[in-house]
């Protein structure tokens, strides 16, 4: 069996798991819950082997040391690894808190990330490494960064669920915050989907990068009509999301998840992710940069955005430990922190230029 077959199995397993978790929530039959967990574990195991096989394939192909052949070198591989960490984190939580409801939120994220790979037609090939990436630091730096990203993703989803559960009125700042943030998030996803579709239909020339196509099908369209309509549609959608956001509360409220547990998971995820991010992402990154480029810190966009994310989580921890911030305020910070992380991970590569340009879509 090769790595791509195993990746296929894991993708299917996560999607099946997502369906079973959601049905489990609806019917609350214990057998369904056990099935959901089993399917997730199957997906996780086959994904683990897939990553190991890809590692082996890369190692055999590249004639490099085994540590340097770690399959974490481009956007595709990093997304796959991110999903792996996320599922691992989730399984730990399911085991520790003996609560499966959360699975209905995590498996869709995993499925969505894997679907994003297929939808964008991202390059899945194994490519030899450019000189800058040929270092033993690659493994630890990327591995630890992504473990941290996954803990932040968990904190984000629990934080968001907390906000959905605990906000009452439409005029409440935290309610406005979460509806608008989620609204913008969905709008951006849809806009990128449109870009992708128009890119596939219109552009046959493979030399044109999808990167230069960002939002050209909607907000930045050459036709002013399309552009204006897109802006109006976006604003209307976000408004509707704010207006009817409380419907989501009914859905989330149906889960046997107490806000206290959500708050606790948010804090613990960040408390684990923050030191890992500091060491693996920032410190090891700096040491590597020092070795490869001769500057341990060069205010490269990726570095700067990681620092901004780091500030956000440092703020979360200080406000909680010193000022006793709990609940809504803390959850808002956790959500904002992850928005920064997403931008560090994807936005910098898609929108800005700099030294860290390995993870792009090209």
């Amino acid at each position: 069996m090769d790595s791509s077959t195993l990746f296929g199995i894991s993708t299917v397993a996560y999607i099946v798991a997502m369906i079973v978790y959601i049905t489990y929530l609806a019917f609350r039959a214990p057998q369904l819950g056990i099935t959901a967990t089993t399917v997730t574990v199957i997906g996780f195991v086959s994904q683990t082997f897939a990553i190991l096989f890809r590692w082996k394939e890369f190692y055999e192909m590249s004639n490099m040391g085994i540590l340097r052949a770690a399959p974490f070198t481009n956007l595709y591989e990093s997304l796959v690894f991110f999903v792996w960490c996320l599922i691992l984190g989730y399984l730990i939580i399911e085991f520790k808190y003996r609560n499966r409801s959360f699975g209905a939120f995590v498996t869709p994220v995993a499925g969505l990330a894997l679907a994003f790979i297929d939808l964008t037609g991202m390059d899945k090939g194994i490519h030899p490494l450019v000189p800058a990436l040929q270092s033993n630091w690659l493994l630890v730096h990327v591995l630890m960064s992504f473990i941290a990203y996954s803990t932040f993703a968990l904190a984000f989803s629990t934080g968001l669920m907390y906000l959905i559960l605990k906000t009452e009125k439409r005029s409440e700042p935290s309610y406005i915050f979460w509806t608008i943030t989620t609204g913008i998030f969905i709008v951006l996803l849809v806009a990128m989907g449109l870009d992708y579709l128009s890119f596939k239909v219109l552009i046959k020339n493979p030399d044109v990068l999808i990167k230069s196509f960002l939002f050209k099908a909607s907000f930045f369209s050459h036709s002013p009509v399309v552009s204006v309509l897109s802006w109006i549609a976006a604003v209307v959608f976000i408004f509707m999301f704010w207006r009817y956001g409380h419907l989501l509360k009914k859905i989330v409220g149906a889960f046997p998840l107490s806000p206290e547990i959500l708050d606790d998971i948010t804090y613990k995820s960040i408390a684990i992710g923050f030191p890992i991010f500091t060491l693996g992402g920032l410190i090891f990154g700096a040491i590597w940069a020092d070795q490869a480029w001769g500057v341990y810190w060069s205010w490269d966009p990726k570095e700067t955005w990681s620092l901004i994310s780091w500030f956000a989580y440092a703020f979360y921890l200080h406000s909680r430990l010193l000022r006793g911030w709990r609940g809504n305020k803390a959850a808002v910070v956790a959500v904002v922190g992850f928005v920064m992380v997403i931008f560090t991970y994807l936005g910098v590569n898609l929108l800005l230029s700099g030294l860290h340009s390995y993870g792009g879509m090209e």
């Binding site: 030899p128 450019v130 000189p131 800058a132 030191p275 060491l279 001769g294 901004i308």
Partner: protein, 523 residues
């Protein structure tokens, strides 16, 4: 009266710096300005940023906006006076915040555990109660043993009216983890300052075969004036010895150094030569596998070090480090290069030939001579027309056009490509291997001397240790009260931990399990 007012003013400044609010404002200020810094390309060509501003704010306002942003230092924002000021403010905030809270924490760290009153025992988050067989004396020994095994605690004891009280604490120093982390940030900032004031960061584009005793600053006034050239020539002539170079120009070393600094010329105090530069490609493709420079360090004219550097594999000599950072073709192109051939005749006679552009060579043992007519750094053939064209500006696939003649009569000619050995075979059976052109490229080296790096690394180490202590270790305390009850002893356990209480509770449960086992065994 006057004095009191003064103290309160100082207090107010102190409180201002010690406040979390200031920290938040600084975090926000650093974040927002940094975001702007990532959108505006730093140290870039003004054109690029004007274009960017035009895209964001419209064509008409772009030039004036650029002037405003430029005036505020946004084009090299991270080195602007105000950004550095925010960083210093951050450091001040960190120092004063820590000083403000440290005495209280130190007291908590130093304070020994004392026995507690009954009243206190009720308020513990972790609380267990059990009855053990036997008197307090015997129970005391059993519990001390179990606490040692399950928790690693050594218990203190106090005799009380109806038995004993045992108590201990562990990890009181872990409360300092946060301060180690904060302190480490200051150490890192301090290391960065050392680098700024006493270090050098620059570059050197070193042509193949050339020797330099200087590097150049990106910040300096790099004017190609006559004086600039004179300085360079003097340093080169003295092979890096500055006092000799200064004497030559009729000035003293100090003035000479100052002048060099003005021009952004950094003296290395030794010389460095590039023997060769090469880009290795993955077989048959234009994907670079490695950028390699063969460097030689010369001190007082003698070779003292040789190293092949690559990205991730720099060379360090006398605390100056050379990093492989770029490369390129020299102006003038192939005219100044040496073409390297290995000639193999039909009979198997071999010979190496280094030929200048336009020059010729003769295949050993024959009268066949080849003349270099044309050169391309990267040659490809058009699929439809079959015509050769140059597809890249760098030396991706160097090729040379050679015409062959025998006794003055042109016989054949064609392109020889370094990457494709099949092009080396001549129609008459002789082979002319083409091994590239030497002396037409330069290697782009990033040159750095930073005495602060060690301090920064020390800070990083402290930060890692501080974070580990702060997040994964805790200050744990335990009190155990033994009360005599007929032939039994009632044991009340109260415990606390400032972090990870759950983990500590599990350990205590392990201890009570041990005690219960003893109880069952004793019966």
């Amino acid at each position: 009266m006057e004095k009191e007012k003064k103290t309160s003013f100082v207090d107010r400044i102190w409180d201002f710096f010690a406040s979390i609010k200031l920290a938040i404002v600084i975090f926000a200020a650093l974040s927002i300005t940094s975001i702007i810094g990532t959108v505006i390309e730093q140290n870039a060509d003004p054109e690029r940023n004007i274009k960017l501003l035009a895209k964001l704010f419209g064509q008409s306002s772009a030039p004036s906006l650029f002037r405003i942003f430029d005036g505020l230092g946004f084009m090299d924002m991270y080195h602007s006076w105000w950004f550095v000021s925010i960083l210093l403010l951050f450091a001040a905030n960190l120092i004063i915040c820590s000083m403000d809270r440290l005495p209280k924490i130190l007291k908590m760290v130093r304070e020994p555990v004392k026995p507690l009153s009954d009243e206190h025992f009720k308020g513990f988050g972790i609380r267990k109660e059990l009855v053990l067989h036997g008197g307090p004396e015997k129970t005391k020994a059993v519990i001390s043993d179990a606490a040692g095994k399950a928790l690693g605690f050594t218990l203190n004891e106090t005799k009380e009216a109806h038995g004993y009280q045992l108590y201990a604490q562990k990890g009181n120093y872990t409360r300092l983890g946060v301060y180690i982390t904060h302190f480490s940030i200051l150490v890192i900032l301090f290391g960065a300052l050392i680098g700024i004031f006493f270090g050098f960061k620059g570059f050197l584009n070193l042509p193949e075969g050339k020797t330099y005793a200087v590097a150049f600053s990106r910040m300096g006034r790099m004017q190609e004036t006559a004086e600039f050239e004179t300085i360079l020539n003097a340093v080169e002539a003295s092979s890096g010895n500055l006092s000799t170079a200064a004497r030559q120009l009729g000035t003293d070393e100090k003035t000479f150094r100052a002048k060099m600094q003005m021009y952004g010329i950094f003296p290395l105090e030794f010389a460095i030569r590039c023997d060769e530069f090469l880009v290795d490609f993955y077989s048959g493709s234009d994907m670079p596998k490695a950028y390699k420079s063969w460097l030689t360090v010369l001190k007082d004219g003698k070779e003292v070090m040789k190293k092949v550097i690559e990205v991730n594999e720099p060379l360090t000599y006398e605390r100056v480090t050379f990093y492989q950072s770029s490369y390129g073709l020299l102006p003038g192109g192939a005219e100044n290069g040496t073409f390297r051939f290995r000639l193999i005749s039909k009979e198997g006679k071999t010979e190496n030939a280094n030929v200048r552009f336009g020059g010729s060579f003769t295949v050993p043992g024959t009268t066949l001579s080849g003349k270099i007519e044309d050169f391309s750094p990267a040659l490809a053939l058009d699929e439809r027309t079959g015509r050769a064209f140059t597809y890249a500006e760098q030396m991706n696939n160097p090729a040379v056009f050679v015409t062959f003649s025998e006794n003055g009569n042109r016989k054949f000619g064609g392109w020889l490509l370094r990457r494709y050995p099949e092009t080396w075979k001549l129609p008459d059976g002789n082979v002319v291997e083409f091994h590239g052109v030497w002396g037409v490229q330069y290697t782009g080296l990033q040159v750095r001397k930073d005495p602060g790096v060690g301090v920064v690394y020390l800070g990083c180490l402290a930060m890692a240790a501080g974070l580990f202590i702060a997040f994964f270790m805790s200050h744990k305390k335990i009190w155990i009260k033994l009360i005599e009850e007929k032939n039994n002893t009632r044991v009340i356990i109260g415990a606390s931990a400032n972090k990870n209480r759950h983990a500590f509770e599990q350990k205590i449960e392990k201890m009570t399990a041990l005690l219960n086992k003893v109880k069952e065994g004793g019966k």
